[in-house]
Symmetry: C4
Subunit: 225 residues, 4 copies
């Protein structure tokens, strides 16, 4: 690794509290480096989490305000089922931790990823008035968990942005209980994408697939034919 | 290689059955890493194959559902002339293996590559109604095997997508026997590109050239002048 | 590091005059390598500086005409509060050094970054007639120092380009004293972006955020809906 | 270097005939790797040369049909003032070698670079009818040798493509003798860019600057305002 690597990677020590989850920590660091380089997590945006325990729920989540391209081993927080740190002395977790907790209520969810991309920002604005957008007809949809045909109709709800995260969490809960519930992901207006998976690999695959489809859909809509 | 390389590369052992084709395996792994990083094989999409024997035909093909950015040595299947694994105990090959087998019937074909890009997805939709699209006038066409002038007219057929791969294989066969047969490649609607070559290097070159031309054609069509 | 690394990195000796600021030098070299690879500092464009002393002001600034992708340790100049080299025998600093000095008058500013991107060039032309552009509604705005909500209205003034840097510096000063002063950044017409931060990390984050928002805004404006 | 590096780099031996120009060879290999990764030299397109002797003229030029992303030390040809190999047994040089020879007639030219990019292809078609295009108003123009202001008007002639390279060379010569001669570069229709410089670093900088400006101009023209 050269002194000129950018951003520089600091391995540093793993905090004692997190010692059991070195693999999860390195998995999230890797995701951060990758998503940063793809432009989906720049400017300290985004947050990522992994479920490390159920009953009671424990999440390992990225600390607030960190450069996702060079997460250090200490840039993580262990939070409880209310999104509160399990112990004092940890770095601050994002206010959006509540949205991770909400998604992780589902016992099939092992990881939650939130990214900010240009295409997601664009489409979240174009379709805000319709409350969401549909993705259909793409072979790539088959990469979403449980989808077996390109004819699948994937509905991605879009929520209005607010700095009141409990309000946002409530909006998500209402949608989830509606007749058009969230399937694999949702968007927040001019903010970004939330998706998840049974494990980190599946959540990462969902990000890749949705970002690909967002670019396909946006470019197709802008095409003059 | 850093712990933060993304996706991580696992070299692992080469399965005994595949020991004679380590170079081919590493060639396909390299292609996967490259095409993944270019955005042509994300989300576990795409599949690649190399002909390792003729009479009877044997193909080394990527296993189904693998991350193409980090193919391990064991993520390959040896299939026979019917697309069936030559031995039990191998990972599952893609349903689309039949399309590889179809292309490899031609004794001049040594490798078949299938990718999913944004531009291919876009153009496959724009030109679906015309059954294909023509590429002509580009110097870059000369990189296609046997083409010696930019004035060459390359016809790229586009097939409707279906989850019934035998149906798709039959459509391809009908086209091949028509008065406008497939030259170097075809598209499947909102699915991706199939191309091939005498060897892996030529097939890879064809992907590069066609992807370049797809972007040229799409941007030109969208240009307001 | 391979002989084929491009551009090649030459570490070389740190000039005696600059020996106290090796970390700052390496930080700026890293920024250069990164911004070059993102296309924001190609063709020897851009210049970067760090405040290394106050009272009197001393800036470490990139030398004129260097390839920002491979800055050597000697490609820097130490300048005084007038933008003049503190000692003879140093490489020439950019004429735009005056704009760095102007920004660094603010005691809260520790680093100034100037980049040339395609999106900044485009928007600086589209909004030239309005004297600037507003960015609002984006969650990403919260990455700008002191901004706590996506509802923030960020005004980015745009100045006409000129080869008379004192004229440009005067225009900036007039704007700064106006009822719509510069907040975090400004653009120069078909030239590029100036932004800054309390330290190099913050200035780099501002570049990332503003470049992301420029692309969002330009793509949204070009979208047909 | 990993087995998965793509494309793989083969250093190999430098041919005896070329032993005096190892630095030039490695410079061109580096350029190839870089331009390939930027998408300007894919599919074995492009060719590059360096003047290694004057009176009589000797050029080191890339061999025909090589992957520019992984040029080996032997993928070069030494040609004379007529574009013919100085010795038998060398790989074939491109038919376009004549265009390199034509540019290198100017005693101030030490390197010639020819690339194929998407933006160059697009603009060469949009402006073909006008015989060329003008670039003006961009600060980045100052990176072209001898240009000192953004107000500079750079005229880039565009020639019709043909497989008859002597015809093309004659067209270039006629233009050069006209009242609007070639300044730093020209385009060939749907083929690519030729530019040059006093040395390889300057020629590379010209490519970077022109590609940046092509993207700026094309995106601005397509912008709806």
């Amino acid at each position: 690794m050269s002194v000129l690597d950018s951003p520089p990677i600091v391995d540093g020590p793993v905090p004692t509290l997190l010692e059991d989850w070195v693999d999860e920590i390195n998995g999230l660091r890797r995701i951060g480096r990758e998503f940063y380089s793809k432009g989906w997590s720049v400017g300290t945006s985004s947050n990522y989490s992994v479920v490390v325990q159920r009953n009671p729920l424990r999440l390992l989540v990225t600390a607030s305000g960190k450069d996702k391209g060079c997460l250090a081993c200490g840039d993580f927080v262990l939070v409880d089922e209310h999104g509160e740190p399990t112990e004092a002395g940890q770095p601050k977790s994002s206010a959006e931790t509540l949205l991770h907790i909400a998604a992780a209520q589902d016992a099939n969810i092992g990881a939650v990823l939130h990214t900010h991309s240009v295409w997601a920002t664009l489409l979240s604005d174009v379709f805000l008035g319709e409350g969401g957008m549909e993705l259909t007809g793409y072979e790539m949809l088959k990469g979403l968990q449980g989808v077996s045909t390109h004819a699948h109709r994937e509905w991605i709800p879009i929520f209005r942005n607010t700095q009141q995260i409990p309000t946002l969490a409530a909006d998500v809960a209402v949608c989830q209980a509606s007749d058009r519930p969230i399937a694999h992901a949702y968007l927040i207006h001019q903010h970004g994408l939330y998706t998840w998976g049974r494990d980190l690999a599946e959540a990462r695959r969902h990000i890749e697939i949705l970002e690909f489809l967002f670019e396909c859909k946006a470019r197709r809509m802008a095409f003059p034919h």
